[in-house]
């Protein structure tokens, strides 16, 4: 790994250099595909491909025209013929060496899931604390372990959350437009995906241009000036060549929370709006206040997504761009942060890929080649306006309001080769090699002015907060801000064998070995055993390990501020600080091991009863270490925090689930309910962000074009990670019950290919007042949640 601080003036940032290299590599890769793929393109049949965790389950139909003429076989011979299993169906997901939930397009439409967070929230063993984190808004927990950087989000098999492992939001920037299905794997998957597939993997499978043929436009409007709009278009350009385009746009003023939570926002109403006052610091006495600018309520949200996918036989390229912008004061008490339009966090993720599949030996041998590139960039205008950054650098005497800005960017590219081979009908295997290069600039400290990505950092004149000070002798005490750069490579190889010697038995064993130039070598094995003792019954026992990369975001995250030190006469003699979080580039990966058992019984394809239990151990947990009276940048700091690998955690739990589906006449009735028990310890204390008892259920009803879906989530209390009572016990956020409802009337108008549908969605139908757990000391223990939201829309399809 190469690291550096304070970019040398005149030297272009390393990201720009690497972009040029990436262009050369893409050209080289294109030549490789052109050379190796020509004959394959000519002979490949048009089969529907799957991106569904290809290495997990093997790809879909592999047939070719060559080989045995099945049309000449007798009916009885056909009956005895076994097939290469598809990745798409529920049977195959039961065979997979993981706990997998598959959410189909039909379910997404009927339940009215607008974005990924809505969908994940209904899956057992996943919890989301919404609007509870100032910087990345939503905290997602898989099986008791919280962290948005602890799982991977992919679209069509390619990662679309930050490849360098920064936590970020999961809202309308991940829309569910033009989606065929979403697959959610709970538990470790590093044996295939390497770092960061720690607690789970989410894969959004889009439709290709032929599947999405036509055009579909959805427009909607709802309470709090909310609008969500999508565009889906698909066209078959030539035989075997199709193009799909997807777009979405979301905007909301968001609720004026003082109207709905007057007690929680009494400071906002009585001190801020009237007198322009905020508290100096959560660590200072309550009576210590500062003057802050009085501005209108402004925590609006804006998100968009744009994606394109071109399929040409066995060759495919894709591009996705997603953007999210929201308040950076979310969950923070109004005593310590300003709910104004300027306090926004925004970022963009771009991802592009190209892949080709070569199939030989009657499709028993497949070689998948792919190259992908992704970028993550925090918008330079992102800023905080809270007590840690002098309320956005506000100077009451001059009226200057410039500060609290942040910046971050990274670029990653990944090349992967995967060779799969069916040795016999009872044995298949996959061997893969990946090479990844990641470089970038981790999140900066608070900046007085916006970062300019086009100018070397060292020329921009950034200084740490509170250091624009001159001492009594006229010396400038300003401290230049450190900017860090990182670059590392990762070489990984994986092997997995799947054997099914008898119909009732399936075995999977494999592992992945990674060498990373930052943290060295890691091995992540996994094994699975699936047994079907009788028709409809499945029992699975699984073991897996995973590791979480110590992302640059955490390794180099540093924030705090200085203030003048004075002598007895009030003369400035230097600087001092009450608090700094300082970097630790020597962090190592967190490691995880999980054992789990799944049991499922399908009764006549009408009722499925299932249960699972898991136990997870985590070691080398990254946690905060606190020291006192240290120096930072040569000045004394009272409290210094740094992240270290020292903790251990365990998480264990179980879920029971019953789902039914009946289709009498034109009706569809689909009730489902699950109960999850989740518990564990982290560094000797109960798990934060975790509800011990959770019930999730719903009822979907459909009759011809009409459908109704109700969904309920009941959670017991959850604990705060840092806020404590007088006895040192973690503060708890009360449990809650939230009911959602979605109504849809499909094809109200159907004239030839033109169709009109309408829908209305109610979130928090009972207008409950409830809270979700936050993560910092200056926040509410529980962030007030949205009241009833109603939104209605029209869908036009041609």
């Amino acid at each position: 790994m190469r690291l550096g601080t304070n970019a040398t003036p005149g030297v272009a940032p390393p990201v720009q250099v690497s972009c040029r290299k990436l262009g050369l590599l893409l050209s080289a890769a294109a030549l490789v595909w052109a050379g190796g793929g020509g004959s394959a393109l000519a002979e490949a049949p048009a089969s529907s491909k799957s991106d569904a965790f290809p290495a997990l389950w093997g790809d879909e139909d592999r047939s070719s025209e060559k080989g045995v003429d099945l049309f000449s076989k007798s009916f009885d011979e056909l009956l005895q013929l076994e097939i290469v299993t598809s990745t798409a169906g529920p049977q195959e997901s039961r065979m997979a060496p993981s706990t997998v939930h598959v959410i189909t397009e039909e379910m997404i439409q009927r339940r009215g899931y607008a974005n990924l967070a809505d969908l994940l929230e209904d899956i057992p063993q996943i919890e989301i604390q919404r609007k509870a984190i100032a910087e990345f808004r939503d905290m997602v927990t898989f099986r008791g372990l919280a962290g948005n950087n602890r799982f991977i989000v992919m679209r069509d098999g390619y990662r679309i959350n930050d490849a360098a492992g920064s936590p970020h939001s999961m809202g309308h920037n991940y829309p569910l437009a033009n989606v065929a299905r979403v697959e959610v794997v709970l538990g470790p998957a590093s044996a295939i995906y390497g770092a960061d597939a720690f607690t789970g993997v989410v894969n959004i499978i889009s439709k290709n241009g032929e599947e999405a043929e036509g055009i579909k436009v959805t427009g909607s409007y709802g309470r709090f000036n909310t609008t969500e709009n999508t565009l889906e278009a698909g066209v078959k350009l030539f035989d075997d060549v199709s193009l799909a385009l997807t777009g979405s746009f979301y905007y909301s003023d968001e609720p004026f929370l003082p109207d709905f939570y007057p007690d929680e926002f009494s400071w906002y109403t009585n001190q801020y709006r009237k007198d322009g006052k905020a508290r100096a610091s959560p660590f200072a006495p309550p009576e210590a206040t500062v003057d802050v600018p009085i501005k209108p309520w402004g925590p609006s949200t804006l998100a968009y997504f744009a994606g394109a996918r071109l399929d040409a036989g066995d060759f495919r390229v894709g591009y996705d761009r997603l953007y999210d912008s929201y308040t950076s004061s979310g969950g923070v008490r109004p005593e310590f942060s300003l709910y104004i339009d300027e306090a926004k966090w925004a970022y963009t993720i771009q991802s592009a890929y190209a892949r080709h599949e070569l199939r030989k030996l009657d499709d028993r041998l497949r070689l998948l080649s792919s190259i992908s590139v992704s970028t993550y960039e925090v918008a330079p205008e992102s800023r905080f306006a809270n007590s840690f950054c002098e309320y956005g650098g506000y100077n009451a005497s001059t009226g200057d309001f410039s500060g609290g800005f942040k910046y971050q960017e990274d670029l990653a590219w990944l090349a992967e080769e995967r060779l799969s081979y069916d040795f016999a009908r009872w044995l298949s295997g996959s061997l893969g090699v990946t090479y990844q290069d990641v470089m970038g600039q981790p999140k900066s400290a608070d900046l007085y002015q916006q970062y300019d990505p086009d100018v070397p950092a060292g020329l921009q004149g950034h200084v740490y907060p509170g250091t624009r000070v001159t001492d009594a002798e006229g010396n400038d005490l300003s401290v230049p801000t450190d900017f860090y750069y990182f670059r590392y490579q990762n070489l990984g190889t994986y092997l997995e064998l799947q054997s099914s010697p008898w119909d009732w038995l399936s075995l999977t064993a494999g592992g992945r070995l990674d060498y990373n130039t930052r943290w060295g070598t890691n091995m992540a094995p996994r094994a699975g055993l699936a047994v079907t003792p009788w028709e409809g019954m499945w029992v699975k026992a699984l073991y897996g390990e995973a590791f979480l990369a110590p992302s640059p975001y955490y390794a180099f995250n540093h924030f705090g501020s200085f203030y003048p030190a004075t002598d007895d006469d009030g003369n400035v003699t230097g600087l001092q600080s009450a608090f700094w979080r300082v970097p630790n580039p020597d962090l190592e990966p967190e490691k995880l091991r999980t054992v789990e058992v799944n049991v499922s019984q399908n009764f006549q394809d009408m009722i499925v009863v299932g249960a699972n239990g898991y136990y997870t151990w985590v070691r080398d947990l990254i946690s905060v270490n606190e020291n006192h009276d240290e120096l930072f940048q040569g000045w004394p700091v009272a409290t210094v925090q740094r992240l270290v690998n020292r903790g251990e955690a365990s998480a264990y739990g179980a879920t029971g689930r019953v789902e039914g589906i009946w289709r009498p006449a034109d009706f569809t009735v689909n009730p489902w309910v699950s109960y999850t028990w989740s518990d564990g310890e982290v560094a000797g204390e109960p798990l934060p962000f975790n509800a011990t008892h959770t019930v999730k259920g719903g009822l979907d009803l459909a009759w011809k074009g009409l459908s109704l879906s109700t969904r309920v989530i009941n959670r017991s209390e959850s604990l705060h990670p840092v806020q404590r009572d007088d006895k040192g016990n973690a503060l708890a956020v009360p449990g809650s019950t939230v009911l959602n409802l979605h109504l849809r009337y499909s094809r109200i108008v159907a004239i030839d290919r033109f169709r009109v549908s309408a829908w209305v969605r109610f979130q928090n139908l009972l207008d409950s007042r409830y809270e979700h757990v936050t993560n910092e000391s200056d926040q509410f223990t529980g962030a007030p949640q949205d009241p009833l939201r109603v939104i209605g829309g029209l869908e036009l399809q041609y």
Binding site: S47, S48, V84
Partner: protein, 190 residues
């Protein structure tokens, strides 16, 4: 950068080495592709169903695929081949999702692709009471009035049958089809 070049070089070499392997292909004893098997069953179904002759279609058995075709070129090898002992030859039609009722009713076998799952009921309504063997692979197809829904059980292709729909269409289904169905829906006996 050098390592990247070496890696891409390896890819190129691997692809060139693998290119001639198809001449060694021997699929005996190996599992077959799902849609090849399904295609073969559709071909057999045409022979196992008592299909009345249709005006202008006396010499062909029309197998129609509505929506996104998952079979690719599999039917090319068998198109024009006689269907059992009926004397008719197979003709494959690929229909767009806006195909008219008249077009659908000309089909001897209508395969409704997964891409049309949302409009299954509309499609079935257009061919209701017409001698068209409707087949799909969509959950809820037989409940919606379709005749045969293909499923995969223990890695083998099987199907569900709506017997009432068979009778409503005026078709006669071979006992072999019924015997190997994993489920036969007979609403009238409920």
């Amino acid at each position: 950068m050098n390592r990247c070049g070496a890696l891409l070089g390896l890819v190129l070499v691997a692809k060139l080495l693998l290119a001639p392997l198809d001449v060694l292909a021997d699929s005996k004893g190996q599992p077959a592709g799902e849609y090849r098997v399904k295609a073969a069953f559709l071909y057999k179904f045409l022979d196992f169903v008592g299909l009345p002759e249709k005006a202008g279609e006396e010499k062909v058995a029309s197998l129609c695929i509505l929506g996104k075709d998952p079979f690719g070129s599999f039917f090319e090898a068998v198109e024009g081949r006689p269907v059992g002992s009926s004397g008719r030859v197979l003709k494959v039609h690929r229909l767009a999702r806006d195909a008219s009722a008249q077009e659908l009713r000309k089909c001897a076998l209508l395969f409704v692709a997964r891409s049309e799952s949302e409009s299954v009921r509309d499609v079935l309504e257009k061919v209701r009471k017409y001698p068209v063997l409707t087949v799909s692979e969509t959950s809820g197809f037989v409940e919606a009035g379709g005749i045969i829904n293909l499923v995969v059980r223990n890695r083998k292709v099987r199907w569900e049958v709506n017997y009432d729909a068979v009778e409503e269409a005026g078709l006669r289904l071979s006992s072999q089809i019924l015997r190997n169905a994993v489920r036969v829906l007979r609403r009238q006996e409920d």
